[in-house]
Each structure stands twice: as C-alpha cells, then as structure tokens.
Amino acid sequence: MVKDLSVQLGGLRLKNPVIPASGTFGFGLELAGDMDLNVLGGISLKGSTREARYGNPVPRIADCTGGMINSVGLQNPGMDVLVNEKVPALRKIYNGAIIANISGFSVEEYRENCAKADACEGIDLIEVNVSCPNVHGGGLAFGTSAQAAAQVTAAVKEVCPNKPVFIKLSPNVTDIVEIARACEDAGADGLTLINTFLGMRFDIARRKPVLANTMGGFSGPAIFPIALRMVYQVAHACHIPVMGCGGVSSARDVVEMMMAGATAVQVGAQNLRNPFACPEIVSELPSVMEELHIDSLKDIIACI
C-alpha cells in the first residue's frame, strides 16, 4: 500500500513532516546543488533580525558526546535581504513550505520583522524565535518568561493577518508548559519546541572555554529524550499544533516525536553531521511505516 506521509500544519499541507531546523540548513540555497530540496516537507530558514549581523567570534562550534554546542549568534543578512533576495530565490526552486525564522531584540523589532515576513509572498509560515541562547538581550530573554513570551506573541499576531505564526520555545525554563499555554492564550497558531540547551565545553589544556562566546546551545541525539518529553507535555496541554525538534536523527525518531504529539518534525544538529540527513530520513520513512503498520503519518500524531 502507498504510504501517506502528508500532514496538515497550521492550515498548510506538507508533503511530509520532515523539516530542517533553523540555523542548520542555511537558507536552503546553500544545499540546492547537492540534493533535491523538493523532497523536504518544509525548510526553516536561518534566523533573521532587522539589521544584518556577523554574529559571534569564532570558535562557534564544539563537539560533545551525543551532539555539539554552537554559538553562531544569529549571523544573517537582515530582514530586507531575507524577503527580497533569499526567499524569492528559494521559492523559484522549492515547492514545499518555506518557514521564516524571526528574531529580535525588542517587542517592536519582532513586530516589524514579522510584518515584513507576513507581507512576503514566498513565506508560508512564520516561526518566532524567543529562545536563542547565544545573543545577549535577544531571543531567550523573551522565551524564559510566560509574560514576555505572551507579549511577543500578541504583538506579532496583530501584524500577521496572512500567515500562521509559530513560537519557538526554549527548554531553558522551569516549566515549558506554562510558557506554551501563555503563547497559545496570546493567539499563537502553533509552537516549535525545543531550541538548544545552554551548555559549555572547556579546552582543559588551555584552561579556557572552547567557544569564543564562552557558552552555547547544546543539541544533538543526547537531547532527544528531553525534547520528546517536552513535546509530549506541551502537545497534551495545548490545542495548537507542535513542531517537534531536538536530537532527531532518524526516521524512527520522527515517528516517535509524532507519537508524542508533533504534527511536523524538525531535524537540526544531524544536518551538520550528515548534510544529507533530511532527504535520507524522508526516503526511510515509508519502510519504517511499513514495519510499524502505519498507513498515514496523520494517524500516529499524539497517539501516546
């Protein structure tokens, strides 16, 4: 029997639930020559801010058991280049869901950036990043308080009449369910979780942190059980769709994340280890579904 991989996310039909996570796949364009992007259900683009940013000094990446920590610091060419150059170029070659990932340093900046994304024809969904751990005063400051997360959500929803708005949550909080509920109450159309865990590595010979920015976001297979638990808790507490993210590295992980309640699944750190991870996962899904007697992926969402 032909397997149905499609899912409905925030009013969009995705051909499959597999989406490279923001920051781990550039603007899609960087990989266009190496693979058929059109096998991907969606692409979450690199996080964008109002002005162009170089980001943090190098080293920005450190290896860890079961993953890595990064502190890229939102390097991006700015919102105008995103909507005028990157998205139109990707739209020409890609027919799946284009997800704009938006950051900001103030509620006003989030509003302004999201309004631009909402007005950009090629963008299908807006993912608001209130959880970047690598930029001082940006992102995470808004994602660790239910009140601030709700304030950003309400502000951006006012200026996004056309596109579904998902809020990307941080795991660096006491109670992620409280923040998820606050975003839902403030009008969010969906949630992406989780972003990275704040972590460190030291160079013990030099007695210094490996990363120039001292700390960074930990991600990779080691965080999968925690991400799965958080997706399970949030999906069962809220009534809006969830994109599950965190340590996903195989088709089986995608199925597990969906069983926890994810409607779509983002793959992050694994793309760095294997640039072909997302297309490989998509191609493996039908045989995993066959083995598990799943005809349609829609049937397993939040089945546990």
């Binding site: 190098v58 990446i61 290896d63 058991t65 990064n70 793309n271 294997n274």
Partner: protein, 242 residues
Amino acid sequence: MQKKDYTVTENRLIAADTYRLVLSGEGPVEGEFVHLEIPGYFLRRPFSVCETSQDGLTLLYKTVGEGTRALANLPVGTTLSVVSGLGKGFSADACRENALLVAGGLGAAPLYLLAKELKAQGKHITAILGFNKADELVLQKEFEALCDQVAITTLDGSVGIKGFVTDALKSLQPEYDYFYTCGPMVMMKAVCDMLSGPGEASLEERMGCGAGFCYGCSIQTTNGPRRVCHDGPVFKKEEILW
C-alpha cells in the same frame, strides 16, 4: 558535495605525532578538504587532501585532540564515511611562472597537492618547509621530486636552516610571482607581512557542517563575513584580517 564510504588501507605513524591515512573506495575525491566521520564522535573532522588517486586519497594528520587520537587507532580495513567536494583551494592559475610555497608543519600536505598541479602546468616551484624539529619532517622527498628548490627549516636547527620559514625567505630571497602558504596563523601572518608580492593563505577553523550552511566557521574579512569551509579555506592575503 558527496558522501561516500571509503576503506582505510593505510594509517601509519610517519613522523612525530603525524600519521599518513590512505583511503580507497569508489573513485577519486574532489575538493580542497574532506570531512571525516570518526566513530564515536558527533561532528566530522576536516582534513586537507594531500594526494588523490584513481580510487581515493591520502591525508596527513597530527594527533592534536581526542578526535585525531581516535582516528589514529583505527585499523586498516575500517570503513569511514567521507564527505568530499568541499572548499575552495589554491588558485594554481594565479601563478604565471614562478611559484613560492611556504609551509609550516602539516601545512605542507595541501601545498603538496598544489605543487603537483603547478608542476603539471609547467611552472617553476620553490618550496620552503618549516618544522619545529627534525622528527616532524614530512614530504621532503616528494617536494624535491617536483620543485626546482626545496629548503627545510627547523626551530632547533636539527635539520636544514635553523629558524623560522621567514628566516629562510630572508636568506634565500626566492624569485616568485605568486606565493602560497599554509601553516599556523602566526606563521602565515609573518609570511604575508614579509612578502610584498601577491599570494594566498589557507586558513583553519573549527567547523560544523563543512559545507557552508551552518555558518559555524564564519570569519571577518576585508570583503565582509566569509565561511572558511566554503568561501575558503584559501583566501587572498589582502582579504585576511589577522
């Protein structure tokens, strides 16, 4: 960019803490460097290509950390996942007639790949290879087979000229119209500062994806931010902000 499995056919200590790794598999590799998956480690490790063959490639590496120490323990016959076709290498065409190659330590490895290309183009090559001590010396015979002149320097004088590669540049005053350098940053900076002619240097940085999409190795240059893995690792000397 391609991802393929290769088999370790040689992994042998050839100098102090320095190994020669020969991989064979389906066809030759392209690109300036390869990204190797080392069993047990999450991120791949980038290595400059030293030599290519019909069915694979040769790398030289130093055991400098956990990943390279684990690599050194892999026996012949191990299968390794290799991402290749990465990086922008040296521009051999930029040299009209006389090339000057200046290496520090294992910087000699990618310069050997370049030397073969320059030789095939009929260019004259002077190579200066610098090491700390005689026991680190690699590729001397290989360079001598391709170059018009090869000078070795060691910091302790245990072989060749005593001192830095810049001391050899001062004493030899080699004729060149384009230079190429690879080695530690301080050494490349000294070389670029000393040589007034045009040239380029191969940089090194901790990398994530190795293919230009994670922005983990972006550095500031005179042309704005550039990814070492994709826009480099080789940059023109005037682009580099030391």
